[in-house]
């Protein structure tokens, strides 16, 4: 039986259970999603865009799914280890793929009209609002994993910022993977709508509570940023070596909007991240960056696709990888400048450090340009630490290991510098440094660190 068939069968047999624990809006797309999944299947290694991550084998094991939404006993504050000191955030949790109701900050802290909460609940409460956006940019035809997520997602996170409203406080969403001794799959869905002239910041962190259980975390995030809006999306993964993550982020940007997407992988098993952005209004700006620190057998595969459909837009991409041991890194970025999208500026840069003989890096920066009055460039490098710099530091009494760490840290710092929250920047620097020292992030208080 192929990997995809077990999901189709599961869906067929459990359809009523899946639908009963979700909302009408979310149920509305399932039929189409399953049909697409059946006709197209999951991406295979033969697919040009999926050559470096075997998606089929990620989905092949027989995972348990919590379709009946059985409540899992967990105190998120206990396993939570990504507290950002000196940064006061509005904190929400998703445990596996259920929005965790009992740990919500007081709604009074939110400006008027802002909706934050469980996607299932919100879509039941405001079906018209949610159905206007749900599934509108996440193109199921593009990728079988998106279709699969749409077919099975029962809950997730919803953020709505009405026109003109500025949410000053960053919103933090913590995804916790909590196992109960069986291999487990979660299908999460994030829907974010930022209205005209509105502003918000969202920080998403991924954690696995149980390093021995095999997790598959599938996440589809749709982000609508209307005209003149500003939105920051930070995505940080610090899970376990047994965790596979397949995530797709779809962004639609209106005129003069400004979006920052920053994806950081500090610790993982196998991660495939897709970032799709479409500019639908002119003069919009996107900064898309990311970094990965991988060692052991970890694999990080990033795919980005920026569609310059209209003129006068600006996009800038920066991705950096540090690979140790037998880690595998892959980056494929495509910039499409459509016919007539004049005055486009699109830059892409992918820089990688291979720090061990067995580390592998595959990179494919691609430009596809159908307009002439554009400025586009891409660059990619793969190399090692500068021997002269190492020598310089050692000659001044810095031990080699320390010197290497300093240089690697400096290498990734470019990506951290792009963060637009000072407190988060400091915290990230600390996390990255700890990561290079071979420790998982630790904070005072939570169970994982004690």
């Amino acid at each position: 039986m192929s990997a995809v068939q077990q999901y189709i069968d599961l869906y067929r047999s459990q359809k009523s259970l899946i639908e009963a624990h979700s909302s009408e809006v979310m149920n509305g797309l399932r039929g189409e999603a399953v049909a697409l999944l059946e006709s197209r299947g999951l991406p295979s290694l033969k697919d040009e865009e999926h050559r470096r991550t075997d998606v089929e084998s990620i989905y092949a094991p027989d995972y348990g799914l919590n379709l009946g939404r059985i409540e899992i006993e967990v105190n998120p504050y206990e396993v939570f280890r990504c507290d950002v000191p000196n940064l006061s955030t509005l904190l929400y949790f998703i445990v596996n793929d259920s929005f965790y109701q009992s740990a919500q900050p007081a709604a009074a802290k939110l400006p008027d009209g802002v909706l934050v909460g469980s996607l299932r609940e919100m879509s039941a409460k405001y079906p018209q609002l949610v159905s206007r956006y749900y599934g509108q940019v996440a193109d199921m035809k593009r990728d079988g994993t998106v279709a699969l997520n749409t077919a099975f997602a029962q809950d997730g996170f919803f953020l709505y910022v009405p026109d003109g409203v500025v949410v000053e406080k960053p919103i933090q969403l913590v995804n916790i993977l909590q196992g109960s001794n069986v291999d487990f799959m979660v299908n999460r869905r994030l829907l974010i709508v930022v209205g005209k002239g509105a502003q918000a910041k969202l920080l998403v962190c991924d954690h696995s509570d149980d390093a021995t259980v095999k997790f598959l975390s599938s996440q589809v995030c749709e982000i609508f940023v209307d005209d003149d809006a500003v939105f920051d999306y930070y995505d940080m993964e610090e899970s376990s070596e047994n965790t596979s993550k397949v995530a797709s982020v779809f962004v639609r940007q209106g005129a003069r909007s400004n979006v920052l997407v920053n994806g950081i992988v500090l610790h993982n098993g196998v991660t495939r991240s897709n970032y799709y952005t479409t500019f639908v209004g002119e003069q919009a700006e996107l900064l898309l960056c990311g970094m990965a620190i991988a060692d052991k057998e970890q694999s990080v595969d990033t795919y980005t696709y920026i569609d310059h459909a209209v003129s006068h837009c600006h996009s800038n991409e920066l991705f950096k990888y540090v690979l140790n041991d037998s880690a595998r890194g892959s980056f494929a970025g495509r910039i499409l400048v459509r016919h007539g999208a004049q005055k486009t500026e699109a830059y892409q840069s992918n820089k990688n450090l291979c720090a061990s003989p067995l580390a592998k890096m595959y990179t494919k920066p691609q430009l596809e340009i159908y307009a002439d009055d554009v400025k586009c460039s891409h660059g990619a490098t793969v190399g090692q630490l500068d021997q002269n710099a190492l020598f310089y530091m050692r000659s001044r009494g810095i031990p080699e290991a320390e010197a290497r760490m300093l240089l690697m840290f400096a290498f990734t710092n470019d990506v951290i510098e792009q963060v637009r929250l000072d407190a988060l920047k400091d915290r990230l620097r600390q996390l990255v440094e700890k990561r290079f020292r071979g420790e998982l992030a630790k904070c005072s208080g939570c169970r994982a660190c004690r």
Partner: protein, 483 residues
Amino acid sequence: MKQDNPNEILNDVTSNDYKYGFVTDIETDIIPNGLNEDIIRHISQKKGEPEWLLEFRLKAYAYWRTLEMPHWAHLTIPQIDYQAISYYAAPKTKKAPKSLEEVDPELRKTFDKLGISLEEQMKLSGIAVDAVMDSVSVRTTFREKLAELGVIFCSFSEAVKDYPDLVKRYLGSVVSYRDNFFAALNSAVFSDGSFVYIPKGVRCPMELSTYFRINAANTGQFERTLIVADDDSYVSYLEGCTAPMRDENQLHAAIVEIVVHDRAEVKYSTVQNWYPGDKDGKGGIYNFVTKRGMCKGDHSKLSWTQVETGSAITWKYPSCVLAGDHSVGEFYSVAVTNNYQQADTGTKMIHIGKNTRSTIVSKGISAGRSQNSYRGLVKVLPGAENARNFTQCDSLLLSSDCGAHTFPYMEILNDTAVVEHEATTSKINEDQIFYCNQRGIPTEDAVGLIVNGYAKEVMNKLPMEFAVEAQKLLQISLEGSVG
């Protein structure tokens, strides 16, 4: 006013005639259209080939039949009916010409028109020429002189007869018939081509050159070039090509194989000027070529230089397999597309040996409604310690309807490798044009100047005789296509 109206200038350029578009009225021996085992046996028999070569062809054909036409390139290729093509067309001559006088006068006129008068070439420029018309090698000049040094430069079919051991040893050693769809097709039906062998320690005193021409209608050209440079040798090889103007598309699927031994160096230059089709995109050559060199020996060097201005569709990736330690691969390319031309071209650098180095410089220029893509692979295998690559690919866009694309692949499996890639895409700077205008240089000439400057890095790598021709070609294709 030309300067004021870029469209008009563009029209001028696009209506530029393809000056090599004549047809030579010459008796041609064409075998019936279609492809099957009998045709292959027929070709082989016509050429009086030994059994082993026929077997090679049949194996390739059997394999080809299992393949499908590849679709991964950024090209729109219309359905090609492989049964509607004649796979062999030879100018009818009674016997092999012994001297120039014996070559068919019509044929000689053709080559005169192409500017490669065999006589003049021989006397003045000192380039040894092997001219391949339709499918058959017509004449090779300077053969005796080269033979004194032990250099073998002859048509492929002669090589099969005279040097079967060499051919047997190297044929298919770099590009196997299982390599890809077009390589399999070529291996099955290749009709002729050139064979070059440079013995140990010999520095070939003159440039070797091949001129290819498709003349007969409804035929395909499938030539095969095999170059072997033995230890400590050097050769510079030039290749040029033209075809008549025809409404229908013609197929050209060639293979070039190069083997470079210890400390040897091969420089391979191409000026590709097949008929690109008319300004509405009608006709033109489909140029699907597999070119690969194997730097087998330590300290060997292979350098590809190409100027691609012709063909309706180009699908071509001259590659270097850097197997020997300290071997060097280079790729310099200028690809110009205009009207409805499409090009998907680039290179592959496979680093296997230690301390191997490669350089890639690719300049794409697109005008009209053409699509121009760079596609390249740099692969560093685990054993390739200290491999070094630098890649630069720039695209210049000359109209708002054309496309320029870059698809580089980097696969790095060794931690001592240093690999860099950079690419830019832009149009001609208006300030530069204005600056030229202001000093009395018309826009048309200014564009020519700027484009030539842009391509200079590659042009400089061409041998002098070719550089002149290439520069002229570039001018023809592009003069004033920007305002």
